[in-house]
């Protein structure tokens, strides 16, 4: 065991962390002991997924099903950059709220009043940032060891002083030689490292890396290449197509302390849409399974070595990557499970023990309804049943569309109701797949092989739904249909509430037991970011970010018309609610 782990085993205090890392601490410094116990700390929201259990659950109940009807806006903050809306998750630490907005801006605000404590704006390499479509949004930050950590669209990791917003270190992490460009997802602190995944699923390049950098210095401690990094992966890409294969890990994974593992979801392979059709094992643009794209990977937290994996979409023919969503850690009957949603509308229930390689699937179930890209999923093996391949040519009404039945935002789990709350979205597309010419290897050029148009499912209009179900079996307790599919993350609370930030601007509080709408507030613009709860001066608040303009939200004007056609894509706010 390394010296660091020995110290960790003794349950770090803020002082010991400061001693260990030589970082000046204050009352609000967050050490790893606080992070690993975040699920027992309802006054704060310490990381993107709330805690390493990734439940998106608050154990606060001042605001509850009985009094939520009195919920009011407490304060509002408008960031100075919000192109494509605010897509991030706020974090709350000891009464201070931190959040990021577009173009690498970070804000620290008084959690009770919204008073600005500091602001940081990264100076970005705009040519590099704007060389992709993954720009200029930022989906969140990490806080620990007196620092606020931010990934940037030009491939840097930056540590800011948590108290002042001043730069502590600023490191270029991601080289463009592999065709990768930058980061938009939130980092997560794992022990004395900060872990983040790169963009790149639609870019001609390799290798879509996931990085762990030293929390104190920013030096890269390990790098895991999601494609092309080992022989098993390379052998699954015929004709060396991994060199143009995309990959990545653009959203935030988690850490499982019991096995000292990082769990991360990976992006789709390039080209998006392969003309091979049924013959994809031996022909086409990327013959083979294309490991480890559209997969879950489990890495040794100390070394980044691959412990296990499961490819949710072998030879992903639909752009249904696994980078979306959360890894929910759930125990039942003395057994540990890890839940992970896939964009194709499947919830995979894994055995949390990564000594199984590939991972052992305990169950897999569909939450999408109108799908026809497969006939189903084998609950015992997680294998896709009855694939609908998309060879060169036209294909009508393929469901779901490229946007998936599950988007990148998170669901929530309430341990008191025992229910998983999750959004599903239902629309389809007509697509024509073409035989794309591969761009130069490692070039970072866009690599698509199709054109498409979003359409309604056959026989009805596009729609969305929020369901409450047993997380392990998938059995539905209740389901609520939404005219416009919500695109933002959900929040469950001990007050028996589920907060649903809606696409049309409505912010709903549902009864977590029944699905009944108990409260709604029109925030004036759509949501596709995070929502959290925290306390400041002993009072509970609920915070949500607003703003419209994500890639998926672009479908809403053609599918639904107003209010989406006139909804601005360069506006967004942080709204904070409280009881009077």
């Amino acid at each position: 065991m390394k010296p660091w782990n020995t110290k960790l085993a003794g349950a770090l205090t803020a002082m010991s962390a400061a001693t260990l890392f030589g970082i000046a601490t204050s009352a609000s410094a967050v050490d790893f002991d606080r992070l690993r116990n975040a699920d027992k700390d309802p006054n704060n929201w310490l990381m993107y997924h709330g805690s390493f259990k990734s439940w998106h659950y608050s154990d606060l109940s001042q605001i509850n099903a009985n009094n939520v009807k009195n919920l009011r806006v407490a304060w509002v903050h408008t960031p100075s950059a919000s192109k494509r809306g605010v897509q991030s998750f706020p974090l709350a630490v000891d009464g201070v709220l931190y959040y990021s907005s577009a173009s690498g801006q970070v804000w620290a605000l008084d959690g009770a009043t919204g008073e600005v404590k500091w602001k940081y704006a990264a100076k970005l390499d705009q040519e590099r940032s704007e060389g992709t479509f993954y720009n200029p949004y930022n989906r969140g930050i990490a806080i620990g060891y007196g620092h606020v950590y931010l990934g940037t669209t030009d491939g840097r990791m930056i540590a800011l002083d948590q108290n002042t917003g001043k730069v502590v270190w600023d490191k270029m992490i991601l080289t463009v030689e592999g065709g990768n460009k930058g980061f938009t997802g939130a980092p997560v602190i794992v022990k004395d490292m900060v872990v983040i995944g790169s963009n790149g699923g639609e870019l001609s390049g390799c290798c879509g890396p996931i990085f762990a950098v030293d929390a104190k210095t920013g030096e890269v401690r390990w790098q895991f290449d999601t494609i092309g990094g080992d022989e098993r992966s390379r052998a699954s890409w015929g004709n060396d197509s991994w060199k143009t294969g995309g990959g990545g890990g653009w959203m935030t994974g988690t850490y499982d302390e019991a096995t000292n593992s990082v769990w991360w979801g990976t992006a789709n392979p390039a080209p998006d849409y392969d003309w091979a059709g049924e013959a994809w094992q031996t022909s086409g643009a990327r013959p083979g399974d294309n490991l480890y794209s559209s997969s879950v990977v489990v890495l040794n937290a100390d070394s980044g070595e691959l412990k296990s994996w499961f490819q949710e979409m072998p030879h992903d023919a639909w752009d249904f990557d696994s980078a979306v969503g959360e890894f929910m850690s759930i125990e039942r009957g003395g057994k540990r499970y890890m839940l992970h949603p896939n964009k194709g509308g499947i919830i995979f229930v894994y055995n949390a023990d990564p000594s199984h390689a590939p991972l052992k699937v305990e169950n897999a179930y569909m939450i999408g309804k109108t799908f026809n890209y497969i006939k189903g999923v084998d609950a015992k093996t997680g294998q896709l049943i009855g694939r609908r391949e998309l060879p060169e040519g036209k294909h009508a009404n393929v469901c779901p569309a490229i946007d998936g039945a599950i988007s990148w935002n998170t669901g929530a789990y309430n341990p008191n109701t025992g229910l998983l709350y999750k959004v599903g979205q239902e629309w389809c597309f007509d697509i024509e797949v073409v035989k794309a010419d591969p761009p130069p290897a490692f070039s970072g050029q866009a690599y698509f092989g199709a054109s498409w148009t979003s359409v309604h499912p056959e026989g009805r209009k596009a729609f969305g739904h929020v369901s409450a179900r047993d997380p392990l079996t998938g059995k539905v307790k209740w389901e609520k249909e939404y005219k416009y599919p919500p695109l933002a993350s959900l929040l469950a609370t001990k007050g028996n509430l589920v907060f649903v930030p809606g696409a049309d601007g409505r912010f709903d509080a549902l009864d977590g037991r029944t699905g009944a709408t108990l409260w709604t507030h029109n925030n004036g613009i759509g949501h596709h970011g995070g929502t959290i709860s925290y306390t400041a001066n002993g009072k509970q608040y609920v915070a949500v970010v607003t703003g419209w303009g994500s890639h998926v939200s672009g479908n809403y004007c053609p599918l639904f018309g107003e209010p989406f056609c006139s909804m601005p894509t360069d506006a967004g706010q942080l709204l904070v609610f409280a009881l009077p």
Binding site: K83, R84, A102, S103, Q126, E130, G131, T132, F133, N135, P136, E202, P271, D272, D430, E432, V434, K435, A436, D437, P439, Q445, A446, Y447, F448, G449, A450, S451, W452, T453, S454, H551, V552, G554, N555, C557, P558, D570
Partner: protein
């Protein structure tokens, strides 16, 4: 409705391909001609110079699918992640520049990815899309 759209499509695509074959970007051609002139030595020039190599035809439909389709649905006929391109009020020159330079915070520039000929052909194609 769907049949009408498909028919419209065929017209557009065929016209785009035709435009591809017919249009030669003036700026690029001029530069090419100048280069050829300066490199020609009268003493060694053949009496009947060989015709310049024929440029490969650009399949604008494939080009669009490979580069533009993630944001512009239905080969530009429908809004998607990006706006509908058919019926754009931008001039041809503006469309060319938008493809080449991009738009800050909204669209990457393709000036370093695509050749001038490819950008020209895409601009021709987009401007030829029917507004209805």
């Amino acid at each position: 409705m769907k049949r009408a759209t498909n028919n419209t499509w065929r017209r557009v695509l065929s016209s785009g391909v035709c435009l591809t074959a017919l249009l030669t970007p003036l700026g690029h051609s001029s530069a090419l001609a100048a280069d050829e002139a300066s490199s020609t030595d009268a003493a060694t020039a053949p009496a009947a110079p060989a015709a310049p190599p024929e440029k490969p035809k650009i399949d604008v439909r494939k080009l669009f699918a490979m580069n533009c389709s993630w944001c512009h649905d239905g080969y530009g006929m429908h809004a998607g992640k990006g706006p509908k391109l058919a019926g754009t009020t931008m001039s041809h020159e503006q469309v060319y520049l938008r493809i080449e330079k991009g738009k800050s915070g909204a669209m990457p520039g393709y000036g370093k990815v695509l050749s001038k000929d490819q950008i020209q052909v895409l601009a021709d194609y987009i401007k030829a899309l029917p507004s209805e």
